[in-house]
Symmetry: D2
Subunit: 365 residues, 4 copies
């Protein structure tokens, strides 16, 4: 269980690092949406391994195939099956970890839960699983655009101790893609690059923070009380590999303000209700208020390192382990499209829910 996400725009991902492939069945996509594989590929290319020297050297083209749900270039309302085949799989490289648990990986917990474990490259717990999310996220983003919702921009705002200095509202795709770190502050980007390079050379890894802003989100998205927009966003984000924290708006820092300095005063502008500050992060009472959605995501340092570590085997015997699998010394740059995908999926689902509500209430006084 647990491989499904969303309510009206619903995805079911499948696949493992070293099996026949990975993919997603997307149910609930509106019919008649123009959709080409190239639009999906664009996002998969930002996620794929081997795209820069900062990422794992695993060579995967991650070429998407759309097997159903699209007819003559448009969606039909039927489930859309999108997949990529695994190519550069090297199961032998994992053979020595077959019976030993890698620290802070999912090896032990999968074993504890299922009593069986696909030990090749992380199996289901591999970040390759996010291919299905990124593919579906690209479709979600297209639906959002079609309905006038603005862009969703994520970027690397911190790596280890290095913080970017940027106005989150001014970040564009172009500025993000200008650096292989996906940090839009060129100075910080340079520092991050060195830090990641250094860590890689030492066989170590770094963590950091991704910031994400969703622009022009209409008021009304989010369903009280459990499906609050921030609750669904938090779940979406925390379901990403290596994620350890989530903040919306003022987040943890806001706990040190007072009500009188934290509250966002309302004013009217061009016939719209606006707020002067945005400590709320675009969400009040679980529902979007028309201001930009603003959130921050903590990613831990990659668990796979090339430094010897203490661990135990399946037989509970103490063991030493030195990671040799291909991996990212810092997941942050590749996490950017994943965060964008998850945020887009949540927004799209709630957009459809709100359109449903509006349609249903349409005739009512």
């Amino acid at each position: 269980m647990g491989s499904s996400f969303g309510h009206l725009f619903r995805i079911h991902t499948w696949g493992e690092s070293h099996g026949g492939g990975v993919g997603v069945a997307l149910d609930g996509c509106p019919p008649r949406l123009p959709l080409e594989p190239a639009e999906i590929q664009l996002e998969l290319d930002r996620r794929k391994p081997g795209q820069s020297r900062l990422t794992t050297p695993r060579q995967e083209e991650d070429r998407v195939e759309i097997l159903s749900g699209v007819f003559e270039g448009r969606t039909t309302g039927s489930p859309i099956l999108m997949m990529v085949h695994n190519k550069d799989a090297r199961p032998a490289a994992y053979e020595h970890m077959k019976d030993v648990f890698r620290p802070s990986h999912a090896d032990y917990t999968y074993e504890a839960k299922y009593g069986i474990r696909n030990w090749q490259g992380g199996g289901r717990a591999s970040a390759r699983e996010t291919i299905g999310r990124v593919a579906a996220g690209a479709v979600a983003r297209k639906v959002l655009r079609q309905h006038g919702v603005g862009e969703v921009h994520a970027y690397v705002s911190q790596v280890h101790g290095i913080e970017a200095k940027v106005d989150p509202l001014g970040v564009t795709r172009e500025r993000v893609e200008a650096s292989i770190t996906r940090c839009p502050d060129p100075e910080a980007a340079e520092e991050m690059e060195s830090a990641i390079d250094n860590a890689r050379r030492r066989g170590d890894s770094l963590g950091g923070v991704v910031t994400c802003v969703a622009h022009d989100v209409p008021p009304g998205l989010g369903d009280p009380v459990f499906d609050k927009l921030e609750a669904d966003l938090a779940k979406a984000i925390l379901s990403l590999p290596a994620c350890k924290g989530f903040e919306i708006g003022s987040g943890f820092a806001g706990t040190k303000l007072t009500g009188s300095t934290h509250n966002d005063p309302f004013f009217a502008e061009a016939g719209k209700v606006r707020t002067r500050t945005n400590h709320s992060g675009g969400v009040q009472g679980g529902i979007s208020n028309g201001e930009p959605i603003y959130l921050r995501v903590a990613f831990k340092p990659t668990a796979t390192i090339r430094i010897e570590q203490d661990t135990v085997g399946r037989d509970l015997e103490a063991a030493k382990l030195e990671g040799t699998g291909r991996h990212d010394p810092c997941v942050l740059p590749r996490a950017v499209p994943m965060v964008e995908a998850m945020v887009s999926l949540v927004l799209c689902d709630h957009l459809l829910r709100q359109l449903a509500l509006q349609g249903a209430a349409g005739e009512l006084p």
Copy 2:
């Protein structure tokens, strides 16, 4: 939509601040569990208003009634309806806010979403909605105990700038309840008490952090890939009123470590796999690993304050507003049982899911 939570242990809450009452229908509770209203009442009493001078003076007994699903003192497997009637409702006190949006409340967003709004005391967005959660959480906790899962202890670890100095693993219910702040560090508690008192006198409000530890959680709880334990916890927590952030394990601070210092080395103890550190917060790859679940929650300062604020009305005209409704100058003390309830609900749901999986796999090699 959105008033349901859980998969196998499933709750449906209903009710508003000033309607006929608030409550919950709980479906999926195991049969034959001994259950008395007094066990529920105990938790509701920790949540109820008016319990100390730090909380809203609204006088509500919040006396629980169990209308179904329990027979001769034991659950039957049928839905359990638990409710409390609203008593100390004073709709007139809200009359002046009928057409004006309170800053950082849900007034505007409910209006934007539904085109109608129960303006009496926050309506559905009132924290009274959490009564149903706390009641169901008490049942969840009982199921957890019955299956050998340990206690879930939340406490106030920060109010405004004041931080508690305690070992999270040593916190007990007794120590938490020793102070009306629900902070188990007596010195910090005293400071927090003054700070909250001060804020109340100024008509202002404070935010803070609740920390929560779940003990003796067996390995194996949590479902990859979207229903990871931390993802469901994040959703549960972010669905609480006034919540702006969630961390598990090392959280945001952990982003400044390296893989070699962050990874939790495994060792074996008494036939069990353990970790030497717990940066993972008891969860790896979305599944509990047997270590204590450790999480932190950010609550913003209460939005209702008695200080004049700028806002607009439904007619988009600028307006001044001074909160006069009864409210908490700091939600933290009453948030403690809410956090415990949500964590218990998530753990109970995943416990049942894991028992289901074990039962299903029981006969297999």
Copy 3:
């Protein structure tokens, strides 16, 4: 589990025959729908016991209370809690059945499933559970009307061997309510009345068939492939107590036709696609085609009879049992509002789903 139904218009029923009451939490009702308790009461009065000499003599007013989700006479989009208290409960009357299984009741199966059983009046398996469905069905019907969907008329078309001779399309609420049998064919109704009277006198019971027609259902309702309109109708109907069969359109009789006589030829009329015959029963490929929805439902003879029967006790000892609880000698007349409610709930849910789809596809080519 299992007490929830619907996807966008979602109900959660709760309550037992002899507990504190029975009711429903309805989530997903569109906001701003005018709603008065009297509208709900109207349908509950058609379902309630004691309404004629053909029904159980249990005296219940079944007076509905709306505890949440309605503000100043209109729905708010929040969950609507509707309930009735149990009044004429006589648990003592069931004392002698505490340890003996009534044949063809749910006594044994509940015991087998849960290891505990509320033996007072059928507990959760009592037909009183349908109160929540009928209440929610009344709301569903109102939503349907507001969106231009026509009426849903069910009627008794067969009792034991007596069949009504009527044109299903000409049946109106008035004609149905003209007889306490709820059979719109006056002659058949008279015969049915005698037959039921006879059965009651003998302490025996009768079964029969309810036919239902939904008028002016727009094309497009129903979701391939599992949530076909007929599939959701079948589930809704088979979830009613005592139901043993479901047919749509030509049903079992249609299996004896050939494709050339069974197919419904299309023609155009007033700019609409119509069919000359309606063997499809208004549904093709799981989606409504604009013709009347036509279905038939088989109800078995009431299991409770006043004739001595062979059975066993919880101790597996052979026993004799003579039903003494109050009951209906024939459930058909009271089943009519239940069938209408379930059909209305399904149509309303699929109407909202279709409005959602149309809203989502609205901007697309």
Copy 4:
């Protein structure tokens, strides 16, 4: 929406008649189940076209591929993706139906719902969609066996006016497969064969009834009140293409009995509660009682015929249509494995739900 089925054993089907392929993502399969493609293939071979002269001549090998969720011959608890590629697709054969609605097909309703339609071979409404169901059903059956549940045997019991005379409880897979009609009564089978041959020669088609028995189902499966076993079976069955009716136990015929003749007296045998008759069809109050599950399914005559029919085009102009696509003159023989698959899926889902409940209640008094 609508392409998912099940709660704990959950399937998501995808694919169209003439796209890249058809398949299913199965989530919730217990881990460690030995599983080989050959076991799936066995069932797909019974469903595939071209298997006898009674079925459509479309040549498809329907060779299954398992792309995920199985490792070293055993399931891992991760989603299992099973698919077949479409080979013998002839879109050109459907070109002339692109703008004309085939009577009693889903052409018009898909167009009405989605405003777009994959007109090649029925698109999503093609019976090829059931490949995913049959594949998943084979896995379900395996889980059932592993837990001691007996076999699920369906067979053709009626074609047009010809009825089989067999004891449903004595029907075996061997007897069913002995005839290409899948009718276990050799005489009736021969008559059916001629009748179908005749219909095919005339370009016409026939309907009929499939009967299904599930043996050795333990008591306790099924969840009151909406997820009653018979309700979920009815939904599963009515979701099959061409299905128009469902009966369980005494069904429509039982409506002509009285309570005293219809009730199934209990007796004890070998420490088990049994019933002397089985009018209940193995289900009481929505829960299995340990007797064989017995149900009957009505299938209409195939809509595709080679006889000229009146219809209209998308432009609403009257048109004549003569089916030329490849099709089955009678769907009954190939419907047998589909019915078995759906019944197996429902039983498996409810078995897992009951194992979950038992696990959850395990420690309770």
